[in-house]
Subunit: 187 residues, 2 copies
DNA sequence: CGAAAAGTAAACCGATCTGTTTACATAACG
DNA sequence: CGTTATGTAAACAGATCGGTTTACTTTTCG
C-alpha cells in the first residue's frame, strides 16, 4: 500500500468515525478502526485537529463534485436541478447515509477554538453556496441571488429538522416551498 | 439562600457555561463559576448528564412561555405573531444573546447516548412546534398544519445558517419566504 | 544479502475528566 | 452550649485523552 493510499485509508476511517460518533471520538478508535499504530497515525497527521481540518478539506474537495455529478445524473434538465439537489440529499438521508453537513458540524464544534478547521469549514460552505447558486441560475429565476439565499436557508432547515426529528419529511416541506418560490418569484 | 435558590443558582450558571462553551465544559468550571464545591454540586445533581437533562427541561419550561410573552408584546395583532417570532429570535441573535436552540444542540450531542437528555430535548421541540402552530393558526392561513411544518423548516434553517455564517441575514430571508407563503398559500 | 525505512505494540507522560471521600469550618437550632 | 446539618477545600480514585518514546519486527529496495 502506497503512502497516499495509506493516508487515504486513515482519512476514510477517521471520517466515518467522526461523522457518526462526533468529534470527541478518541484517536485510539481511529487507530483500531484503521488497523494502524499510534506512531503511524501521528506520522501522517501531526495532531488530531490537523486531521480534522484535513477531513473537512477532503469533504469539500470530494463531496461537492460528487453532489454536482449525482444531481446532473438525476436531472438531465438544468431547470430541475435545484429541486434534484434536495432529492439527492433526501435520498441519502432516507438510506441513513447522510448525517448532516460535516463542515457545519465541525464549524459549530470548533467555533472560536481552531482557526484552521473554521477556515476549511468556511471554504466548504462557500463551495456549497456556489453549487446552489449555479443550480438556482439554471432555473431561469429573475433574481438568482435572492433565490440562492432562500434555497440555502431551506436546505439547512431541512437537514437540521430531519436530523432532529429523524424523519425525511422536512425535505418534502422544503421542496414544496421551493416550488412556490419558483412559481411566485417576487416577494 | 434556600435550597431551591441554590439549585437555581447552579442551573443558571451551568446553563450559561454549556450554552456558549459546549457540553464538554468540565464540572470544575461550573463549580468555580457558581462558587460551590464539588460535593455540593453532586448533592443537587447525581451526575453531569442528569444536570444537562434538567437544564434542557428548565429551558423548555422557561423559554417557551417567555418567548410567547415576548412575541405577544411585540405583536399585539395575532396575525403578525408568526413573523414576530422570527423577529424576536433575530433580535436576540443580533444582540449576541441567542446561540441556537439549547435542546437541539443537546439532542445532536447526546443522540443515541443518553435517553433522558434525548427525551427532554424532544419535549422541548414538541412544545416549540406547538407554539409555532398556535402562531400559524392565528394568521388565518387555510392549512395551518402545512404552514407549521414550513415555518419550522424556515426557523431551523435561519438559526443554523445564522450560526454558521455569523450573520442575521438568514432571518430576513426566512421572513421573506414566510410572507410569500402567507400571500400564496396554495403550493 | 544487507542496510534503511516504515511498521507494530506497548509503555509512558502529563493533563483532564467525572465522581468519591476525608478533614475541617460554619451556621442553624433545640 | 452542644448537636446536627450543610458547607468548603482538597486529596484521591479510576478512567480517558492527546501525544511521545522505546524496543522490536517487517517491508522495501539498492
Amino acid at each position: 500500500m502506497s503512502k497516499m493510499q495509506k493516508k487515504q485509508d486513515i482519512i476514510d476511517h477517521a471520517f466515518e468515525l467522526f461523522y457518526d460518533q462526533g468529534f470527541n471520538t478518541g484517536v485510539d478508535a481511529i487507530m483500531a478502526d484503521t488497523g494502524i499504530s499510534k506512531r503511524t497515525l501521528y506520522k501522517y497527521f501531526p495532531s488530531k485537529e490537523v486531521l480534522i481540518a484535513e477531513l473537512v478539506e477532503h469533504y469539500r474537495v470530494n463531496v461537492i463534485p460528487l453532489l454536482r455529478a449525482e444531481v446532473e445524473r438525476v436531472s438531465p434538465d438544468p431547470k430541475g436541478r435545484l429541486i434534484a439537489l434536495f432529492d439527492v440529499r433526501q435520498a441519502k438521508f432516507t438510506e441513513g447515509c447522510f448525517r448532516g453537513c460535516f463542515a457545519v458540524s465541525a464549524k459549530l464544534e470548533y467555533a472560536c477554538r481552531n482557526a484552521q478547521i473554521e477556515a476549511a469549514s468556511e471554504a466548504m460552505m462557500a463551495d456549497m453556496n456556489g453549487l446552489m447558486r449555479a443550480f438556482c441560475e439554471m432555473t431561469g429565476h429573475p433574481d438568482p441571488d435572492t433565490l440562492t439565499a432562500q434555497a440555502m436557508v431551506l436546505f439547512n432547515g431541512a437537514v437540521v429538522a430531519a436530523q432532529a426529528s429523524r424523519s425525511a419529511k422536512p425535505f418534502d416541506t422544503a421542496k414544496g416551498i421551493l416550488r412556490v418560490l419558483l412559481s411566485f418569484p417576487l416577494p
